[in-house]
Every structure is written in C-alpha cells, then in structure tokens.
C-alpha cells in the first residue's frame, strides 16, 4: 500500500508571533521555521504503518518556497521514502492546495493520504476535507487512532463530547489530531540516510492548477491587549475582588 503525506513549513510553534508594523502580515524574516506539528504526527503514523508492514511506500509532498525542501527532508528523516516539493513563492489558499494535491494523487495513485488536521499558521482546518471532497474519497478527520484492515481504515475521531469511531473504505483521507502518536526524534544515521533519498522539485505549472487567490488580506493586526492585572495576597482577597468585579 502506498501512502501520501502532505507536509507544510510553518513558523515554529515556540516562536512568538510579531505582526508587521504596516499591517501587511506576520514577520517571517529571520525566524525559526519548522514542520507543522500535526504533519509531523502524520509522517510518524505513516512510518509506523510501514514498520508494521501495512504500507510499502511513503511519499512526502510539500508546497512552498525553496526552503520548504528542509521540511520534505525532515519527513524523509522520520521515515518517508521519497519527497516531492512543489516550489512556489506564492501563498496558496487551502482550496488551491487541495487541487494541487489532487493532481499529485492522480499521478502517484496512493491508497491513503494522511495529513495534519490544521496548520498552526492559517489555522484553517480545511485542506484535508477539501481534498477528500475533490477526490470523492471518504474522510476521517481529527484521528486519534487508526487501524487498517480489509481495505478499510477504522478511525477513532476526537469530537466535541468524546470520541467517534468510523470506518472509511480505502482510498481515503485521514487528518491527524494531537493524540494519535508521539513523533520520534531524528537519529543521526537517519539524517544521513535522508540526504540520499530522492526528492523531486516541481512547479505549480507542472500540474496545470489555477491557484489564483480568492481572498484578499486587507490587514493583519494584533489582538487587543488585556489590561495588566493585579497580584492578590491570598484567597480571601481574591474572592473579595471577584465579588467586586461581579463574576461571583
């Protein structure tokens, strides 16, 4: 079985976001970028399926600037066999990303796509669902457990109020939630090995997909800052303050 894992290069989750003074966006110059944490979980899950003998090949694909090569290499280090980078300096919206991924899937013919439930920059939580729809494949989002048997993925999903388990016929799209697994750290031998794995660099034009933006960012601003609070000495003073504030 062949697996495809889309991965995204994003601002590292530990970095404090700075909004540009001209409100044109977030300052991404000279800051640490990393693989989106949910995508790391997706690569880890794909690698585990390979180690269990269920998957035979794992292909990692990323869409982004030249530096997104590092993100693909990170996926190869975790355990992907082969990488594809669709190089572009444009910021591509989730619907266009889904269309590009669909074009890749038509070429690669994977049996399963595993990807993160959301990227921590745009926080859209949309690409996986859109991709499944465009392919007319079933979807299992927010996965915290995946079992593959008899041409079906049985997926336990994190939903409001608890967990739901569904079965999706392969091929399908699964999006990962945080508790699916704990991604491994890259070992030095695997970092060396990853450098020798194939990585194809493509362009958006190679896939004939219209990626014209549908949304215009008017401005990006900082959220309102909270008024500085006070420290109270003890529980009695806290309760008195809360009563005065009218919340108790």
């Amino acid at each position: 079985m062949k697996l495809l894992v889309p991965v995204k290069r994003v601002l590292d989750y530990n970095v404090k976001v700075r909004v540009k003074a001209d409100q044109s966006g977030v300052d991404l110059a000279n800051v640490k970028m990393s693989m989106n944490p949910f995508d790391e979980i997706a690569v880890e899950e794909a690698t585990r399926l390979k180690e269990k003998g269920i998957a035979t090949e794992v292909v990692a694909v990323s869409i982004g600037p030249a530096q997104a090569r590092e993100t693909v290499v990170t996926a190869l280090t975790i355990g992907a066999d082969r990488g594809i980078l669709i190089q572009t300096d444009q910021d591509i919206e989730p619907l266009a990303v889904a269309k590009l991924l669909k074009a890749v899937i038509e070429q690669e013919q994977p049996d399963l796509v595993i990807m993160g439930k959301q990227a921590i920059d745009g926080d859209n939580n949309a690409t996986g669902q859109m991709l499944a729809t465009l392919l007319d494949w079933p979807q299992a989002t927010f996965a915290s457990k995946v079992v593959i048997e008899n041409g079906e993925a049985q997926v336990t999903r994190e939903v409001d109020g608890g967990l739901q388990t569904i079965g999706v016929k392969l091929p399908a799209v699964i999006t990962t939630d945080l508790r699916l697994n704990e991604p491994r750290y890259a070992s030095l031998p695997n970092i060396m090995k990853a450098k020798k794995k194939p990585l194809d660099v493509k362009t958006v034009a190679d896939y004939g997909v219209d990626v014209t933006p549908r949304l215009t960012v008017v401005k990006v601003t900082e959220p309102a800052k909270r008024q500085a609070g006070i420290k109270v000495a003890d529980a009695a003073e806290l309760v008195a303050n809360l009563k005065t504030a009218g919340v108790l």
Partner: protein, 314 residues
C-alpha cells in the same frame, strides 16, 4: 456589495436541545443583513426545530433526517448543505468539531474558499478571523459569489427568542457506501458544557495525577456551578479526557470567569481562553506566562490555596 445576503445557518444541537452556539451563529448572520433560515439535521429533530423556530428574526427552519445525518457523517451532511446552498448567498456554520468536519467539504463542493473561525462580520464580503493561535487577526475580503463560513461562536452574543418561523422538511441525501459509523463514546459529566459555562475551573500538569485532578477541581467546580477544563499538558498526561482541553487544538472558550490552576500559560492554551471576561491564575511560579493575561494572580501552591479558596467562598 450591499448587506442583504440570504444566509443558511446550520444548527448545532445534541438531539434534544438546540445549543446556544446556533443563536450566536444567527447573530453573526444578522451582520449580513438578509433573510436567515436555519437547517436542523439529524433524526427525530422536531423538538430541536421548534426551538430554532423561536429565535427572533428567523424566516424559516428546514429539517432533514436520516441515520447518516444523526451520526454526523461529513459526506452526508456536506451533500445536504451544498444542495441547499443553491438558494442562499451564505452558509454559516458554528465552528464545532462537526462544523469543522463538513464545512470545508461544502466549500469544495461549491468550488469556493472557506472563511474559517470568523470572529467579526465587517460587511457582506469582509470578515475578521484569528490566525497563528489568535496571536494575530486577519481581515480578509472574499471575491466569491457564494460564501461558506464557520463562526467562532464565543465572539458573538446569542440571538434572543421571540420569533415563530415556519418549519419545513427537506429530503436527506442518499448514504455514502464509502463510510460507515461504528461507535461513539461520550464523556459523561453532570457539570455544564465547557462551551456554554459562565465559569470554568481549569487544571494543568501541576496537578500531577487524574485522581488529584478530580479531587482538587470537582469540589471547586461544584461550588461555583462551573465547567471543568484542562491544559493540553494535563490531557496528554492522562489527567483529564481530551474533550476537556482548552486551547488552539481544543476548545475555544470565553466565560465570565476562568480560573487557571497549575497552568503555565503556553501560547496554545492562551489561544483558547484569553477572551474570557475575568481570568484568575493560581500558580506557584511567579514567572509563569499565565500571569501576563490574568486579571487576578495568586502566587502559591494550589494545595494550600484551594482549601483557603473553598473556605473564602463560604
């Protein structure tokens, strides 16, 4: 474009009761200025539809019933909603886990972009949404003729009752053979729901165990009539069930009072609670980032502070 766009609001409910997130989505829809209809899908939804029909300003309530819709299977729900979308300018969906599951599918079926987690409707084509875990706000303008949005309901007030809309039933789509429902496991709680609670008592990793989490937070929550929440660290450590999680990757809440106990205040947690009216932090580390957003901070070990707090509450 003038603000007179007709909106289909998708109801959020538990099978018996309409959630107030539906009323809040109606308020967001009112910003678009046109007719508002509500879709209630599921099975045996007559009582819920009757509640939806009472929301002031609603023109019509549509119901659709099938097993797949009750099970919230995204394939069925998105087919239903995309089919109905022909009659509307905007589809507005509460950003619950179910809404996030099917709304992007509706957008893809209509070949339009999705506007997710909208916190402000500026005009018919301009919306504000948080990005980077709420550390920046993006104002976006869409050129789509038809719009699909998910609404971050904590950012809107609930529309009041006072209406008497007509209720009509509509056909459910055929079931997909590619997906089947297997089971579900609901977390049973006698506390108020996190999303709707006026007061939330939330615990972090400092509590050390699932037993301690319960022993410490339950009596306080009971006394205050509060819901119990948790940080990601507490959930990952197994101290609390995952649907207690407040944060970028869990629930976004905005109660009147949020009490964070033993929570350091990581960026991803703050993203889920920093719009609370009053925030209280109890933490023994005076440098914990949670104190930078807390209205009232109490530096101390929760083990000594909480018994005192229970006493002070009387």
């Amino acid at each position: 474009m003038p603000n007179n766009q007709s909106v289909l609001v998708i109801a959020d409910h538990d099978g018996a009761h309409l959630r107030d997130t539906t009323n809040k989505t109606v308020t967001a829809a009112q910003g678009l200025g046109g007719d508002i209809d509500i879709l209630v899908y599921g099975e045996g939804v007559a009582a819920v539809a009757a509640q939806a029909a009472k929301i002031a300003g609603v023109r019509k309530v549509l119901t659709a019933e099938s097993a797949e819709l009750k099970q919230d299977l995204a394939e069925a729900v998105s087919a239903l909603v995309a089919g109905l979308a022909a009659g509307y300018d905007v589809v507005a969906v509460p950003a619950s886990s179910a809404g996030k599951n099917f709304a992007p599918r509706v957008a893809a079926l209509l070949d339009v972009s999705l506007l997710s987690d909208v916190i402000e409707v500026v005009d018919a084509n301009t919306f504000v949404r948080p990005i980077y875990a709420g550390n920046a706000l993006e104002t976006v303008q869409t050129s789509e003729a038809k719009k699909v949005l998910t609404v971050r309901t904590t950012a809107f007030k609930a529309a009041a009752d006072g209406g008497s809309a007509a209720i009509e039933s509509t056909a459910a789509p055929a079931a997909s053979a590619k997906v089947r429902y297997i089971s579900e496991e609901k977390v049973v709680s006698d506390r108020p729901e996190l999303g709707a609670a006026k007061i939330i008592v939330s615990g972090g990793r400092a509590l050390g165990s699932a037993e301690e989490f319960q022993t410490v937070l339950d009596p306080l929550a009971a006394k205050l009539g509060a819901a119990v929440g948790a940080s990601r660290a507490a959930v990952d450590a197994g101290y609390a069930p995952n649907d207690y999680q407040v944060g970028q990757t869990g629930k976004v809440v905005a109660p009147d009072l949020y009490i964070a106990i033993g929570i350091s205040g990581a960026i991803q947690h703050l993203a889920g609670m920093k719009d609370s009216k009053v925030i209280v932090a109890i933490n023994k580390d005076p440098e914990a980032p949670i104190f930078s957003v807390a209205d009232y901070g109490l530096v101390g070990d929760y083990k000594t502070v909480l018994p005192e707090l229970m006493k002070a509450l009387g």
